[in-house]
Symmetry: C2
Subunit: 481 residues, 2 copies
């Protein structure tokens, strides 16, 4: 019996889809950049059915590629072009919020839950699930766990990893590991959940999770600040941390070009301040309780900073609408950059103290390749995470492509050279080439380029131990070695 | 050449100790309860020397037992009585604070650094390394990482695991993995540090770490509260969390018997409140900045709680001396219990919402074995971590021992039965038998009793993958399977 027939027998004909119209959406990434063939789409409804699918695929030696909301920014959720066609395993039918415990500050959810649904369910219970990112309306909680998603709340609440207490995982032999612990402390051997978080589907299939919740903040203070340099921004960050500690919930930085692109290309957006500053910072404090002490606290910090010459201009949002407008500027960067030209996004993190040096060095490195090339900087500065983006207008990109020889080849080679130039500087400063987007298809070659051999060897040992037959997402995460 | 001669050649005669006077202190635990033979004590001075020791031991098939400050509460740091005598590997000579980066909020330290030294070095730079526990004056940072130590700051800052960003580890084949990253975000494959944190020396030798620092709090508010029940304490906890969120840095609970034992057996200690309440809670808020808003915040919460009948009495510390005195009561529980009789300490955690049910069920379970047995409760309530302690006066313990048959055997069997009774109730409520103390020698049988087989199988697979020759702490953490 062939795999598809067997799967159909195990989980039902309506749960095993092979029609091109069904496969199109899951074999191509959401930006239309990456695609690859799949044997079928399997949509099991329970962890037991997931285990059935995994055992069947293992028997037949067919790879299993788990897919969440297919919102990866690095081609992580779709099949490889040349690899053996996998069964794409979707958890979409497992989307129950199983339980919320507001006293324990936990919730148990199935992997197919959309992130926004998780956030909403927590909020309805007066709690916060803090992970927040652009794709939250369609990405699934299982995918965010498998990729250890970051976003704009990491500074205060940590990455997805820090917000997962327990997991239910289907292992390579079809065993279901029920590790849905809701404990803050548990020192009984290796903390296995951390193996699967961020493993990008290569070690097991996450079918459910116990998430950590937090009190829902009831107060927010937001300011927009113009500054002369990343150094000044870091100094201000340190001051806010020393004064406001865990109330600091965002410290985002963009450069002048990024602000201009947002104001110029996205209707309704404009700079919250009038200054011509080269660097712009959005600061958010949030807290529980009531009263307006938070605005006063942020204002006092900014007044001191202004007196000390750290900032050239600042606006403190005085209403929910103003706070929203400031955040809208920040959230519009992707849309603006897409409309304005071609940005070669990178996803580096370095120690915070090295951010100014990194930005300077990366600027120098890319301009050594393309003189005077504009660069966009979008940084989660509080996390040391800098999206440093060599930027071309559409015309400049066309011209550069021609300079590079064959049109496509020249462009690809130039893009790769520029990204390497940026990532090399991050590596030199003990940083990383992938802070929050993961490895996926796009960054796999970088694993071989940047990861120490001892680290790759350890990862391979773990992979062999947990997936000896190499059926989970083969060819991903670990470069051939 | 024998192992000792070879080791001497590798790291020097003064670094390989075999005299009984040198071995006594490292082959017996600090409470004198557990001991076992060792081949020698090796004291390498660098990671390279650690690697030399490991390779040498691997060649000879001699086990390696890493030891920090030898402060384990469960016999985790000393050799087994019957196993093959290991080389005890001490990191005491690797005790440099290599670097502090106050902007990145990180410090790099060698494994042999005493925890208090780490705390002091951070404080000198205006930063907090938050892990704090009774043995901090002698335990070593490497040991706290290898055991994922807990303590009294977990509620706000997490366990040791949450405060480690990077590790340097000597692996079983002598490779040195240099993973001393100081990054908040790094999504480039499996997060290997989490394998070694809490692995109790079974996967590798931690030689250095990059630790996460926090702003040093400058304000504290502490209150002592008398309450009628653990349910009321949980309700108050939820209220404080909803109001004060991340300012809440401790929520500790003890029962009346514990308070009476402290007041009765430790000179200078007395109850901070006059009430005859059955349950007592210590609450601490801490924050940065200046002003007395924190006291006012805590007072308002307590006034509301009093008005609602949640508490019978409360005292808000009005000076540093009063705050200190309240904490001294909490910190004196071990001393009091040791002087007053024999307490059979347990280390359970359950979901916070299950703490009242756990205390009631555990009380019932131990009294089914020993009618009317007094029980002590010392809980890190904010973490769901309850040290539930069946308690005997010295006379009662003597009598119980005689009842149980042979003196020693009867006592051991009774102690084991009582601990199992408590741990069984924790397990029934989806809890754990070891929240913060780890497994060590004492809790190894509990691993077989309570851990799901899928979990043990996964752990064994990881162990085989990273230490195929089984030279790191063989026989520990994983029960024979």
């Amino acid at each position: 019996m062939d795999v598809i027939a067997e799967l159909t027998g195990l989980i039902g004909a309506d749960a095993v889809l092979t029609a091109p119209s069904d496969l199109d959406a899951v074999t191509e990434d959401w930006r239309g950049r990456y695609r690859g063939p799949a044997l079928c789409l399997a949509r099991p409804a329970t962890a037991e059915q997931v285990a059935d699918v995994v055992r069947c695929c293992a028997r037949h030696g067919v790879p299993v590629l788990p897919q969440g909301g297919n919102t990866s920014l690095c081609g992580g959720a779709v099949p490889s072009e040349n690899g053996p066609a996998p069964v794409i395993l979707s958890l979409t039918r497992m989307r129950a919020v199983r339980a919320i415990d507001p006293v324990n500050n936990t919730m148990e959810v199935e992997a197919g839950c959309v992130l926004a649904t998780v956030q909403d369910a927590a909020a309805a219970a007066g709690r916060l699930y803090p992970v927040s990112l652009g794709a939250e309306g369609s990405c699934q909680i299982g995918g965010t766990i498998a990729t250890n998603a970051g976003g704009t709340s990491v500074l205060r609440y940590g990455n997805t990893r820090e917000n997962v207490l327990g997991l239910e995982v289907v292992l390579a032999d079809g065993t279901i590991w029920s590790g849905l612990y809701g404990l803050r402390k548990n020192n009984t051997g290796y903390d296995l959940k951390h193996l699967f978080i961020g493993s990008e589907g290569t070690l097991g299939i996450i079918t459910a999770a116990t998430l950590k919740l937090h009190p829902l903040p009831t107060r927010h203070a937001v300011a927009w600040v113009g500054m002369a340099s990343p150094e000044d921004a870091l100094t201000l960050l340190t001051r806010v941390q020393e004064r406001s500690a865990a109330r600091l919930s965002a410290f985002e930085m963009i450069n002048r070009l990024q602000l201009d692109l947002v104001a110029g290309h996205v209707p309704g957006r404009r700079s919250p301040i009038g200054s011509e500053a080269d660097w712009h910072v959005l600061i958010e404090l949030s807290d529980n309780g009531s009263g307006d002490a938070l605005d006063a606290e942020l204002q006092a910090i900014l007044e001191d900073a202004f007196a000390d010459g750290l900032l050239s201009d600042a606006a403190l949002a005085s209403s929910e609408a103003q706070r929203h407008a400031m955040w809208e500027v920040r959230h519009s960067v992707s849309e603006a950059n897409k409309k304005a030209g071609v940005g070669l996004t990178t996803d580096c993190a370095v120690p915070l103290s090295a951010v100014p040096a990194f930005i300077a060095a990366a600027t120098g490195a890319v301009r050594a390749l393309v003189p005077d090339l504009p660069v966009i900087v979008v940084a989660h500065l509080g996390d040391g995470n800098v999206h440093f983006i060599p930027f071309f207008t559409f015309d400049a990109w066309e011209a550069a492509a021609k300079d590079g020889g064959t049109e496509g080849g020249g462009r690809d080679a130039l893009a790769a050279a520029l990204r390497h130039a940026v990532n090399d500087e991050a590596a030199r400063l003990k940083g990383t080439f992938s802070a929050e987007h993961g490895v996926g298809r796009v960054q796999l070659p970088e694993m071989a380029r940047y990861k120490p051999s001892a680290e790759l060897a350890l990862m391979r040992a773990v992979k062999r131990a947990l997936d000896p037959q190499n059926i989970f997402n083969p060819g991903r995460l670990l470069p051939p070695g």
